[in-house]
Symmetry: C2
Subunit: 205 residues, 2 copies
DNA sequence: GCTTGCGTTAACAAAAATGTTAAACAAAAA
DNA sequence: TTTTTGTTTAACATTTTTGTTAACGCAAGC
């Protein structure tokens, strides 16, 4: 049917994202993706040339979307702490929707460092620049211990992402059920804010 | 030569660890491992039955060694903050020696959650128990904002591990050379302590 | 109606990786 | 010396996965 034609490429991508980002099936084969999308495997090659090239596209899009989200939040005209509160909230919520997105990004960037560099070269946008001034002000006013924007951001992103990245092992070590871990992740929004600012997080509107 | 016989199994393991933990070659084939060890590929099956079984052993040993290190540090009879300072120092140093160990552990535990649960069941040792009392005291004395041992430990481990886990992408985003990132990681020892305790880290003896 | 072009499929081809086996070998035991 | 045992190897077999191709179908334009 011609009506669905234009959609096929998207369907394949969607299903692939579902398998990789939501279900965490890193070793997913082209066959499994094709099955999930309900199409013939050859179509994956027709649209994406090779499995490798497809992964490359998925990685690019995933990173690009993340970059855009981060940039949009950190570019908002808001007080520093509110900005960070929103950032924490957004990242954790996002992570819970796509539990394996970070795993995918990390394993792909580890596996292909050249591609990572190429992407970053194409796409210059240091998130550290987006908070540099406000952070400096915060520090100057004595509201925060001195820290570079790079360290501050790495702290923030580490605190947000790691618990999702290492979920299987953290959950098991701490003996939590799926539900308990879910709660734990939600709690972390407060915990992270508190860890960074040593004050209660204001409720996010 | 009989002299080397007993060593073969170890040599294979060593080389495999080198490829997985140090070089981060996650997709390493049995052939590559055999080549690195300078032996026939069939020996890998002779000693480890299958590639999968070998990975299982490597994962077990890696987790076990980590667990032992953590336990040893956190069990020391020392003031809380000094304990944590040592922990940070040890973990970061260890991470820099085996840059891809965490990636390996995480990707394997994601890939095989049953095995992870089995390991943890065999090996009950909640690291949170090792700091529970001292942490509570610290909080009670008003030296630290209230936080559960689980969140405290996840914070700590996230701050220590994430920068190594996500190195390829963080390094590129922040436009650092290998050397600069090395420095950055060393700085983090101070930064992490400061982030958690809001005071300078005492020099570790 | 014919043909042209794109999407689609099944069937085939090739590659890459793992797993198995029988025989060679070398050292220790008999 | 012969036997025995555990180690090692080459060669083979199998499995898994990716990549290619030729043909089919269907809608649009001529």
């Amino acid at each position: 049917m011609k009506i669905e034609e234009a959609q096929t490429e998207q369907v394949i991508k969607e299903k692939a994202k579902e398998l990789f980002f939501k279900k965490g099936l890193i070793k997913t084969t082209t066959q499994e993706i094709a099955d999930a999308a309900g199409v013939n495997r050859a179509l994956i090659h027709y649209y994406f040339r090779s499995r490798e090239h497809m992964l490359s596209i998925l990685l690019d899009e995933a990173m690009e979307e993340k970059r855009a989200r981060v940039k949009s939040i950190l570019s908002f005209d808001l007080p520093f702490r509110e900005k960070i509160a929103r950032y924490i909230d957004a990242i954790i919520t996002y992570n819970m929707t796509y539990p394996y997105l970070e795993n995918f990004i990390i394993s792909e960037t580890v596996r292909n460092k050249d591609r990572t560099e190429a992407y970053c070269a194409r796409n210059q946008s240091r998130s550290s620049d987006l908070i540099r001034d406000q952070l400096a002000e915060e520090i100057q006013q004595g509201r925060l211990a001195p820290i570079t924007p790079e360290h501050f951001l790495v702290n923030l992103i580490a605190l947000c992402n790691y618990p999702m990245l290492a979920k299987p092992i953290l959950r098991t070590i701490h003996g939590m059920t799926e539900e308990a871990y879910h709660e734990f992740l939600l709690e972390r929004k407060q915990v992270i804010y508190m860890t960074i600012f040593k004050e209660e997080m204001p409720s996010v509107s």
